[in-house]
Symmetry: C2
Subunit: 247 residues, 2 copies
């Protein structure tokens, strides 16, 4: 069974179970116990950082239960807190694994770009009250696309061996007072999207040139990229399991 959930990450220390911290996985499993009568082992499509949100996060699990998918959604939602909701449920093959079967993901970083705060996007977007040139950022972010070594865009302390990833597409769009950075790829390193965003903001400020991204990638030096943007603007937006979804 493959479930999609959405969650507001403000009250959680990411997805994966941790000692001494409330995580989405733990709360999700508590709801599973109430619906399926047993604590089922689940597989999440990725880790997410503390405070990061998800418009789509995927979880696979094996169950002997005969509860049909369309009844799982309301049953789980009755048993989950208001900041987590199951949005989809489907049957999958026995060997399906939310993480290993995943061929790509899309992240969204939301920036509120106006002088005044917005009560409705508190903790759900980065408030950036300075000018942002959307066209400039759109041009700059295109250089993330392709197969690159993203060491410069990875927080130190990460133990990943292969730091090369393929970015399928990256784009910046303005929607009213919001500027949205969307990036899809076959995988992401620790804090990668937040460092990409921090780098775009430095480009907007003029402290990194608009054509500076290829050089930063090549340097493989974390200090050359911008700072890590805050968690609360970041959303895991889509999870891809088939080539057709990627287009």
């Amino acid at each position: 069974m493959l479930l999609s959930i959405a969650y507001d990450g403000r009250n959680y220390h990411g997805f994966q179970v941790q000692k001494n911290a409330v995580t989405v996985e733990e709360v999700f499993q508590d709801a599973l116990v109430r619906v399926f009568g047993a604590r089922l082992p689940v597989k999440g499509c990725s880790r997410t950082d503390s405070g990061v949100h998800a418009n789509q996060f995927c979880i696979s699990m094996k169950t002997e239960s005969r509860i049909p998918c369309e009844r799982v959604i309301p049953a789980m939602n009755t048993n989950l807190p208001p900041d987590i909701a199951v949005t989809d449920c489907r049957e999958v093959l026995e060997e399906f694994h939310a993480r290993y079967s995943c061929i790509g993901k899309e992240y969204l970083y939301r920036i509120l770009n106006r002088t005044a705060r917005d009560p409705f996007s508190e903790g759900r977007a980065l408030h950036y009250p300075y000018p942002l040139d959307t066209e400039l950022l759109r041009t700059a972010c295109r250089d993330f696309a392709g197969y690159h070594d993203f060491t410069a865009f990875c927080s130190s302390g990460s133990a990943v061996e292969d730091t090369r990833r393929t970015i399928f597409r990256a784009n910046v769009e303005r929607k009213g007072d919001f500027v949205e950075f969307r990036v899809a790829g076959d995988g992401f390193l620790y804090n990668m999207v937040r460092i990409m965003t921090g780098t775009l903001l430095e480009i907007s400020r003029g402290s990194i040139p608009v054509e500076g991204i290829p050089e930063i990638l090549e340097s493989r030096d974390r200090r050359r990229a911008g700072p890590t943007a805050p968690a609360w603007g970041l959303y895991l937006n889509r999870v891809f399991y088939s080539e057709s979804e990627l287009i």
Copy 2:
């Protein structure tokens, strides 16, 4: 001075100061004290019910202060809680009054119309998981437009003498999973927009005919209209002070 604020109404018992309940006005005046050094009398453009939100709510006040408008916005926002923000500030004539100078208002009622809950619209939209025919509701709601006696759309217990109001326009639109009911008029009775919304939902369910609104208006009988829809889907959306804004 005329300030526009936006607020998430979940934590407040409406705008107007009350004994033993936290209101937006009270919290706003506390921030004024810190910015202007004095508790200034303020005039709000309307009362709002407990839990109702505002995308635009207007407040006028007289001040001897020489703080320029563009500095009032960030100063107030630093001193207001995250769920209230000043979004605009302008100088107005001495005789201007946020309520009496107002020539109209627009309300928005947001409905999340899909099976699954949405963590990001908890307490900010009504979750209605049953089918909604947007075309049908658009047709029905057009009958609210015009000069009518809205007694049937007013909660009993209201002490208003003249129950006639002019509705400039009413419309229903689908935006993805959301259905939005917008209504603009020269004034609104107690719970009027929430009863209008409840009536539209009854029309969708088939328990009131699509052409039933004129008859309900004529009856002046509250029992003929639908139930009062919950506060958390309602937003004071715009406040009009000049004819040109109405168009």
